[in-house]
């Protein structure tokens, strides 16, 4: 699978950086409430593609970074991301057999789990609000799986194919 990893090594950090930028891009409030969770999406994609490379250790690091930037309780996103990426690692062979729609559904479910875990931890925060967790973002994240996985796959294969042609 990893024919020539140094050809596309930049794709993983690059897409993660893009995800972080998207996540913290200033959006109007109504849009913000339905925006997909780009960080979860990209992390899950790479966990599914390269489970040996993007382990839950990396998920932990990504989550802590996100906690630091968002000023949420340190470990909140880390815990949720670790759990979700661990689930993907457990079932990655099965998930890969799915059609893209089934994968999208699975991703929506995982994202919902992520939000619920985050919300559960959020309740420990003394100054947490009381708004219920939103289901819409998980759904939107699932829908965004389709274009994102296609795009990243294309990029990956594009940068893989170049050395073959030469």
């Amino acid at each position: 699978m990893l024919l020539n990893p140094d050809r596309y090594w930049w794709l993983i950090p690059g897409s993660l950086l893009a995800a972080f930028l998207f996540q913290f891009w200033p959006l109007p409030q109504p849009l913000r409430a339905v925006a997909p969770d780009a960080i979860v999406l990209v992390t899950l994609y790479w966990t599914l593609r390269k489970p040996q490379l993007v382990s839950s250790g990396w998920a932990f690091v990504i989550g802590v970074l996100r906690d630091g930037i968002e000023a949420s309780p340190l470990g909140m996103h880390a815990l949720a991301l670790v759990v979700v990426s661990y689930l993907v690692q457990l079932f990655y062979q099965r998930l890969r057999m799915f059609t893209v729609w089934q994968q999208a559904l699975a991703v929506a479910g995982l994202c919902e789990l992520y939000l619920l875990l985050g919300d559960w931890v959020h309740l420990l925060d003394p100054r947490s609000g009381t708004e219920p967790v939103l289901f819409l973002p998980a759904l939107v994240t699932g829908l965004c799986w389709l274009p994102l996985s296609l795009l990243l796959r294309q990029l990956e294969e594009g940068s893989l194919r170049t050395p073959v042609r030469n």
């Binding site: 200033p26 959006l27 802590v64 630091g68 000023a71 670790v82 420990l124 708004e131």
Partner: protein
Amino acid sequence: MPATLALLLLGIGYYRPELLAGTRSALADSMARPLYWLTSFPSRAGRWADEMFSSHQELIERNHALEHENLILQRKVLQMAALMAENARLKELLNSTEMLEDSALVAELLGVSPDPRRQEMLVHRGRADGAFEGQPVLDAFGLVGSIVELSEHTARVLLITDTTNAVPVQVSRSGVRGIAEGSGRLDELYIRNLVPTTDIKQGDLVVSSGLGGRYPPGYPVGEVVRIEYDGADPFLRVVVRPSAQLDRSQQLLLVFRAEAQLPAPAPTPATPAPAETDSDAAEP
């Protein structure tokens, strides 16, 4: 293993938050600042383009407009000075206490919290600039919130509309006091627990009352837009629209409260405040 680590972090953060304060502040400085700087690129580019491509003619026109506005504001300041002198004299007559003058520091907005449950902003001033936790924050139109978390160069501002925030307020027309609670939406605050006979009307200006000592008194908080009363409830629900432009302001003011002094001798009317930026003369 990483999950245990995450749980451990959460546990430490919950029981001994001070142990993680350094890490959090370091993360905010090293990660959040550059990231928010990047995401604010479009607005900065817009401003840059605006500055670069506006013609000479436009600049002259804007300059004229600003000069006019300046004149008008100057007149208001003069009037203010006279009023303040009068106020001081009256307070002296009443043997009342201090005349306070707040100073302020301009802070650039860095970013807005992406979490829809939280109404927070990140601003580009931190401990190094003298900001402190609990410091009230204004924009040119009214009260914005207060600082809840600090790092060396950034500060997190909890907006008055956050569901966990509440501001002691007063209706400027009648003096009725209340507490304005955040609604979780940028355009609404609620004042609960006012009896139906309270003297409050649609269109009333609500200002901070200064009770509780967290927010300075007398700054506009919002305007009453709606009063809801369904008869079964013993209390009114007053809906207030914040006067601060919470979703538009790029520049915010961090307020330093003056120490309570002994009554000053009646100040000479035309002396401008020594502060770097006087909060009363803030530009819109």
